[in-house]
């Protein structure tokens, strides 16, 4: 419900995201954000990787007192205390308190549980009246159920979560007051949760976070709270978006792959990785890429970027850089990706939840294809309703039968 009909673009303008053509990468270009702020737009794979890993560029300076405006709307992600907006040692300290729970090995231990969540959802879906909506019944509840379980939020009201999430990542869909109200409410929830787990620790992720942070002694209460609510949003928005957009592709232009996805988890994992690389999460309308700001003069791809400049790393373009990847990703859906893609970023802020997201996506596609081999959409592509967030676009509903 994030799209206000009054400023909705005509639906025929919205093509499925797998049809979006990436900009041809060239040297960094100077352009402007919607706010008029000048920005160096970086698109080549090597340049994007440099921007994300070079310590001369950071996230914190984006929110310094002298920083130019970045988005026309307030949102949760602008919080300077958020993990993503800390740099250097302060970032390392907070990141290390959570990293242990998110390594490939740590995530692999949750596999049987994630699989059982997926299977429950598929069973319920296959018992439902046809046509059924794949978003409401599958793509939306999956990431929420997984992160809630990891965090021990069994009693979390999912409607409340959806409300926070929608507002936290919204663009023009909500007024600034509505967004602020939602954030205040969300923070209150996080504060209460942290207090509760400190008083009565369990074996969930929030308890271990609080424990690790208290042991460290220098992580502030505010940072823990922001981290906890950041994780709630993370488990919700991006995974739902990539699953929804992957399904649009697989049930339309990519339908031939459906049977093979059902074949094995390994094949589904390979396809999930290619889909993560190739299908963008959104449109780059508001933000042309992952933002950083130069702390000193720095040369990127042969261009001198002066200290203080805002830089946007277009990881979608980088993921389609012809120097690195073959042009036809659809023909190689089950091939190994080769050079690591940048969908999860790189450098200090490389996505914490990358392995969890991969696992959710691969199990979701594999189990759905196995249980519902005849799955097909009941609406033409042109009639898909889209949900638009700050950085994401995904189907609002996806009616299907089998």
């Amino acid at each position: 419900m994030s799209l206000d009909p009054s400023d909705a673009a005509p639906t025929e303008a919205l093509i499925p995201l797998h049809c979006r053509q990436a900009a041809r990468p060239g040297p960094p270009e100077l352009t402007t954000l919607l706010t008029g702020t000048p920005v160096y737009l970086v698109r080549r794979h090597a340049d994007v990787r440099q921007v994300l890993t070079d310590p001369r560029l950071g996230r914190a300076p984006l929110y310094a007192a002298d920083a130019p405006p970045l988005t026309p709307y307030p949102n949760l992600l602008d919080d300077p205390d958020g993990l993503l907006n800390l740099d250097g040692q302060e970032h390392q300290r907070l990141r290390r308190t959570v990293q242990r729970a998110f390594t490939p090995r740590a995530i692999a231990r949750w596999r049987p549980w994630v699989a059982s969540v997926v299977e429950d959802l598929v069973s319920r879906l296959s018992d439902a009246a046809r046509p059924a909506d794949l978003i409401t019944a599958f793509a939306r509840p999956l990431p929420v159920a997984v992160i809630s379980r990891l965090m021990g939020l069994d009693t979390l009201d999912l409607k409340r979560l959806a409300y926070w999430s929608d507002h936290a990542l919204s663009t023009s869909a909500h007024t600034p007051e509505q967004v602020r109200e939602a954030i205040v409410d969300f923070l209150a929830f996080g504060t209460a949760l942290v207090a509760k787990r400190r008083a009565e620790p369990g074996d969930d992720l929030v308890s271990s976070l609080v424990l690790a942070a208290d042991e460290d002694g220098e992580v502030t209460e505010q940072q823990i709270v922001r981290l906890v609510i950041g994780l709630v949003v993370a488990g919700h928005e991006t995974t739902m978006t990539s699953l929804g957009n992957a399904l649009v592709y697989l049930l339309t232009d990519g339908r031939d792959a459906w049977e093979r996805l059902a074949g094995s988890e390994e094949e589904a994992a390979a396809a999930a990785e290619q889909l993560l690389r190739s299908v963008p999460l959104g449109e780059n309308e508001v933000l042309p890429g992952l933002l950083r700001r130069a702390k000193e003069d720095v040369e990127i791809g042969g261009v001198l970027v002066p200290a203080g400049s805002v830089v946007a790393a277009d990881h979608f373009a980088a993921n389609h850089d012809p120097e690195v990847y073959p042009a036809d990703w659809q023909g190689g859906l089950f091939d190994p990706v080769g050079t690591p893609h940048l969908t999860f970023g790189a450098g200090p802020h490389h996505c914490l939840g990358a392995w969890l997201a991969r696992m959710e996506l691969e199990l979701a596609l594999h189990r759905l294809a196995r249980r519902l081999p005849g799955l097909r959409l009941t609406v033409p592509v042109a009639e898909i309703e889209w949900r638009r967030g700050l950085l994401t676009r995904s189907p609002q509903t996806l009616p299907a039968t089998w």
Binding site: L52, D54, R96, Q99, F102, T103, P104, G347, H350
Partner: protein, 82 residues
């Protein structure tokens, strides 16, 4: 098997290797084991051929988000982490 005085230290010497293709350049390892790992061109690399900093390098290998770091005991080839 005891390292005795044969190795360069009490652990008999460890090697640290980094798969630079997998490495995402997070720098977490350099923070855990600053004497053994550092970033160059956005990717980690080992700083010395052998080390004794068992706790530090094991911690680095276990925290690495890409499992790009391997720690082995020189004498036995045994993989200690991740």
């Amino acid at each position: 098997m005891s390292a005795g005085f044969a190795g360069p230290g009490e652990h008999g010497g460890l090697t640290v290797s980094v798969d630079r293709t997998r490495c995402a350049g997070t720098g977490l390892c350099a923070a855990s084991a600053p004497d053994d790992l550092a970033l160059s061109d956005g990717r980690a690399r080992p700083l010395r051929e052998r080390t004794d900093a068992l706790d530090e390098v094991v911690e680095a290998a276990e925290l690495c988000p890409m499992e790009a770091i391997t720690v082995r005991r020189v004498a036995t080839g045994e993989q200690l982490a991740p």
